[in-house]
Subunit: 372 residues, 2 copies
């Protein structure tokens, strides 16, 4: 990298640079400052400053020269140069009980992309689910930054509790979860999980399976959840609803559940289809079934949820239900930006609910049940 071709700065130069706070980066890479613009445009620094602050006291001609110099230098004025040093930087805060799972990470990236495009930095807070006190502390810490708006990844009960802790006055968007009616200034993005769970289950029943076992993600359940959709499909077909198998986010635990299901199949029970709460759980279940010599989809069909990047690479390629988490994050940020814009105009927006349905993705992990 070109940076490495730079001579090592001596300690003196370093500390001098530090104390002066001056940027020290490889030649050519140094961020241009207002003085560079003034020099190139052949005007005074204060003239450039007037330009940056849209002062009317500026000739069209110098305005044009400065604009040209800024373009040439690829100059990015700091907030100070823009005279905004005393105005608060509004940020968008994201609250989530997990920031590393595929769905959460993609959602946060979507929020980040859209927020940045609109000039809002993003703060994230991993919600502390250990205790109400800890949860409130993690929420307060972010609220202390006075974010312009908050996005809550409402994927579990911890997030739902945090949602209820937020001041009414702050603009909020909740992604996923049940419909919320007791929180003010809230917009909601509905990932239509209930419909998705019903579709997946009905699809398996349509292949001839007599019932479908469901392995749920942590905090699954709730009227709008994929689990509720699974139940609805079974009841709709006049079938009894088997006990839900509860799993953690750890694929190793899913593998253990797969082994338990596998032992049942080997001993001749009626299990022929499994709907896993997400793709990683489906992968663990499939591996656990294989540990017992149970083949997918020949002996048992297994479908997942999300369309994880590895779902297609897994063997057999996973049939799943695609969720566009990045789009949900982008849309959430846009809803906030719109609400904040309306506020700045003294307007008030009604609560909005946006539906972002996913889609059934059929691959190779399911089949019609074999006569056993």
């Amino acid at each position: 990298m070109e940076h490495d071709q730079q001579p090592e700065p001596t300690p003196e130069r370093q500390s001098a640079a530090s104390s002066s706070g001056r940027r020290q980066s490889p030649a050519g890479k140094r961020a241009p400052v207002i003085k560079d613009v003034a020099a190139l445009a052949n005007v005074s620094v204060s003239t450039v400053s007037r330009y940056l602050n849209d002062s009317p006291k500026l000739s069209e001609e110098s305005r044009a020269r400065i604009a040209h110099a800024i373009a040439l230098l690829d100059y990015r004025p700091s907030r100070v140069a823009r005279g905004l040093v005393n105005s608060a930087v509004q940020s968008i805060a994201v609250l989530s009980s997990n920031t590393t799972l595929y769905g959460s990470a993609m959602t946060i990236q979507g929020v980040e992309d859209e927020a940045r495009a609109n000039g809002y930095p993003v703060t994230i807070a991993k919600l502390d689910g250990e205790s109400t006190a800890g949860l409130r502390a993690s929420v307060n810490m972010v609220m202390d930054l006075n974010p312009g708006g908050v996005v809550v990844l409402n994927y579990d009960a911890v997030a739902r509790e945090a949602l209820a802790m937020l001041p009414d006055s702050v603009a909020k968007v909740a992604i996923a979860g049940d419909r919320v009616d007791d929180v003010a200034e809230l917009d909601q993005i509905d990932l239509c999980e209930n419909q998705a769970g019903r579709e997946l289950t009905e699809y398996l029943l349509g292949l001839g399976h007599r019932t479908v076992i469901h392995v749920t993600i942590p905090g699954g359940g709730g009227g709008y959840s994929r689990t509720a959709g699974w139940e609805a499909a079974l009841r709709g077909a006049g079938l009894p609803v088997p006990d839900v198998r509860h799993c953690t986010w750890n694929p190793k635990d899913a593998r253990e559940i797969g082994r338990r299901i596998g032992r049942g199949v080997v001993s001749g029970d009626a299990t022929t289809a499994v709907f896993a709460g997400n793709d990683e759980i489906a992968m663990g279940v499939i591996r656990g079934l294989a540990d017992c010599g149970v083949r997918v989809p020949d002996d048992v069909s297994v479908v997942g949820f999300d369309d994880h990047p590895l779902a297609d690479v897994w063997s057999p390629a996973l049939t799943t239900y695609r969720q566009d988490f990045a789009a949900a994050g982008r849309r959430a940020a846009r809803l906030l930006v719109e609400r904040l814009g309306a506020r700045s105009r003294g307007e008030d927006l009604p609560s909005r609910r946006v539906e972002l349905p996913g889609e059934l993705v059929i691959r190779d992990s399911e089949a019609a049940p074999r006569a056993r």
Copy 2:
């Protein structure tokens, strides 16, 4: 959830609540306020306020009663109550060109956990690698929040460029990447990737493989990288260094590379071992080899990097090199907290470099080469 048992607030109540900014959450869940503490302790609000601000003008007896009330109510004073309303909230900023990949997401969570434990909220900025202008804009946006310190996930050239754009004056920690000597106020966490790549390669050579093909992650390379370690191991064994196969983060592309390698094997070339730049790439390569009827590890050995949560569940279970990303993130945040603490005492810390070596994890995806 209990929240749902609350009556729906009427629009009037909502807007009233909003305008007053008063918290509105289900009974029993309402965050206790300073008045509740005063009432329970049977003292005045201003007395509680004096307590919160460590005023000496307070009798031991009321001090004890207030402490007891705070404990009973699980009261968390806001910054306002603590009289900190006018003090800046120092945050820790994380810069990364990607926030969704397993390694990045885990590292960010580590930073978040440690920062929160020390009272610092975390801001993340996904670095815009499209253009220098965009990159500078994404860096400036975070710097506008005046973070107390910055953690750069130095996993690629974009992050390295961002590192050079940061003001010297701000405290920084770089995680991974080559040794950096031209950036002031910088601590570094070395994940010892070079050693890891060398170990993995030497392990495969030790099994009898004549050479090892390397499929690199984007931006791989650089003297401290796993790729450099692979090269060093081959040269150390007096072997020629085959061309590096460049992959994206998308497992589908890794699968295509696996197919190309597989076609070579089928047509009788000498390939018997592959070192993939990370576990997702290893999974893709293995699937691509399988597409050609090439078995792992029977025909070709494939090892990954990171110890992804699915590495153990994958079939065959992946032999890989475990990296403790969460520990790297936590350590980075601690280095910043120490540096900021020293600054607040008017002290200056020397630049520190912390080594966090990973460990070889042997599973089932490699074997001695078969005579072909």
